[in-house]
């Protein structure tokens, strides 16, 4: 019986993934746009590295500093967009009503969004990584096993923000859609993607310490410059991500409850 219930849930989650996979596979512009931005950004930072490397000690010792940073940053960005855009697609197509009168539960909807986000991230960032290897002979896998730790923390942070953005758009309508593109960039200055957070003013450093991504990029620099994996940074990021994820899910579920209360689910659309 328990297996039956779990099987039904899995089937519904996969149905949602299948729905979005159908959409992606038949739309080459969508596929292209997923890979385009990370690849172009990577190329830009790769040339910055080529330019600065002869005169910069850091880059001489760790030539992958910027390219690695931009690829990792994109895991966060693609992860967040993957969750938000999966939800927006349902709103654009006025399909939310059909989904919410089906047996699909809220947590299954969330799981489907997360799975789609993982797929979109692997496609988008994967393409950029392939180009980094082909064009600049830089392999993200040179980070070794710690790459898994960085990946997990960044994508979970992206998921938390993506769920929060989905909730806000459900609450305030597609007028709030811009949040999907802007939300992550609010974290960029305090994440220390391209510089140590020590260069920030004291009050911004305090904020940075509350953001999981700052620990990830500090960890990446420690790995590239000192060849050491700092476990404590990984654990701290994981703990803060746990809190982020709980907050993201809570906001999303609250927004679904609000939509049920105010009759938004059958009305939502372009």
């Amino acid at each position: 019986m328990a297996l039956g219930v779990a099987g039904s849930s899995l089937n519904r989650i996969l149905a949602l993934v299948e729905r979005h996979a159908f959409l992606l596979l038949k739309s080459w512009p969508r596929l292209l746009s997923m890979a385009y931005y990370p690849t172009v950004t990577m190329i830009m930072w790769a040339f910055v590295t080529v330019y600065l490397r002869p005169t910069n000690n850091f880059l001489s010792n760790a030539p992958g500093l910027f390219i690695g940073a931009v690829l990792l940053w994109d895991i966060l960005f693609r992860g967040q967009l993957g969750v938000s855009l999966t939800f927006f697609e349902e709103m654009y197509s006025r399909n939310l009503g059909n989904l919410f009168v089906s047996p699909l539960r809220a947590w299954e909807l969330i799981a489907g969004q997360l799975l789609m986000s993982l797929l979109r991230t692997l496609i988008g960032v994967g393409a950029a990584c392939a180009f980094a290897w082909l064009l600049f002979h830089y392999s993200i896998f040179s980070l070794g096993l710690p790459l898994i730790a960085f990946f997990v923390n960044l994508i979970v942070c992206g998921w938390a923000i993506g769920l929060a953005v989905s909730g806000m758009v459900l609450r305030w309508g597609l007028g709030a859609e811009e949040l999907a593109w802007a939300a992550v960039f609010l974290l960029a200055p305090v994440s220390g993607v391209y510089y140590p957070i020590g260069v920030l003013p004291g009050w911004l450093q305090l904020i940075a310490k509350c953001i999981p991504t700052s620990y990830v990029f500090e960890g990446m620099r420690a790995l590239l410059l000192d060849q050491s994996f700092r476990l404590e940074l990984f654990v701290q990021a994981l703990a803060i991500n746990g809190a982020f994820m709980i907050a993201g899910i809570a906001l999303y579920l609250w927004a679904i409850g609000y939509a049920r209360e105010h009759g938004l689910l059958l009305q939502m659309g372009e």
Partner: protein
């Protein structure tokens, strides 16, 4: 919220003292009704009477401010997910993903509803609803009538015991409208499904419905079979009965008396 203490044995849908208030609007003001197994019942009323609000609450996409809903003997407000796999819904105001083909849309929803052998069920419905030539076409490229048939196929995927239909033939030409009605009647004949539909098409109501629930300003103002209503209002067709009620030719006292009568009949 009030419990339903003495449910009507044969009732598949039971609604008791259902209310929905927004900040400044009382959209539904304490309605009660029951729909028997295998019956087709219409919710009638002018724009803003509370039909769609009522259907939304029955489907669980709108939280009532008060009252109780029981569908297939389950408390819909507490155990929605026990009921949802056994019912379905269609409305011209809710779409399916437009870039997916008809076949892809139906396969996705078949999986969502846990339909066994989705492929054969989709083929079966394609045959019944004459969708064969549409299966490979994107949903967004279809005409309004074709979309309605596809939405109906989606609503029949899980062989629902209860079908909730919001204006199932709105904006369809008479030919397609007639075909959709025939399809619904065929399905009901074969399956014994219970149907509750909101409609503005009085011909449809007279043809399909065993019972009519008349709503005005969020209240049930009358209820009965089409024949009984025609006799009660002394009219020749349901259009005239509708106008009598929508234009408030029935007084407020009658409205309250009718609501009381219906509530008493349920208890």
């Amino acid at each position: 919220m009030p419990e339903i203490v003495n449910p009507v044995p044969a009732a598949v849908i039971e609604v008791r003292d259902l209310r929905k208030s927004y900040r400044q609007v009382d959209a539904v003001r304490g309605i009660s009704f029951a729909v028997g197994r295998g019956a087709t019942t219409a919710l009638l009323g002018g724009n803003g009477a509370g039909k769609t609000t009522t259907l939304s609450m029955l489907l669980g996409v709108l939280t009532p401010s008060g009252g109780a809903i029981r569908i297939l003997s389950e408390d819909m407000l507490r155990h929605r997910y026990r009921v949802l796999p056994r019912i379905n819904f269609t409305s011209p105001y809710v779409d399916l993903p437009k870039r997916l083909t008809v076949s892809e849309n139906l396969r996705v929803y078949a999986r969502l509803y846990g339909v066994e052998n989705p492929r054969s069920r989709v083929d079966e419905l394609a045959e019944e609803l004459d969708l064969g030539e549409l299966l490979k076409r994107p949903y967004g490229n279809l005409s309004a009538g074709q979309r309605t048939r596809v939405s109906l196929a989606k609503a029949l995927l899980n062989r629902p015991e209860v079908l909730l239909l919001d204006e199932p033939t709105a904006s369809l030409d008479p030919d397609v409208g007639d075909r959709v009605r025939t399809l619904l009647e065929d399905y009901q004949r074969k399956s014994g499904c219970t149907m509750l539909l909101a409609s503005h098409n009085m011909g449809e109501v007279e043809r399909m419905c065993d019972e009519v629930i008349m709503l005005r300003a969020g209240l049930v103002v009358d209820q009965g079979s089409p024949a009984a209503l025609l006799e009660r209002y002394g009219r020749g067709n349901m259009d005239e009965v509708f106008l009598d009620i929508a234009r408030e030719r029935v007084g407020a006292e009658d409205t309250i008396a009718a609501s009381d009568r219906i509530a008493r009949s349920l208890s």
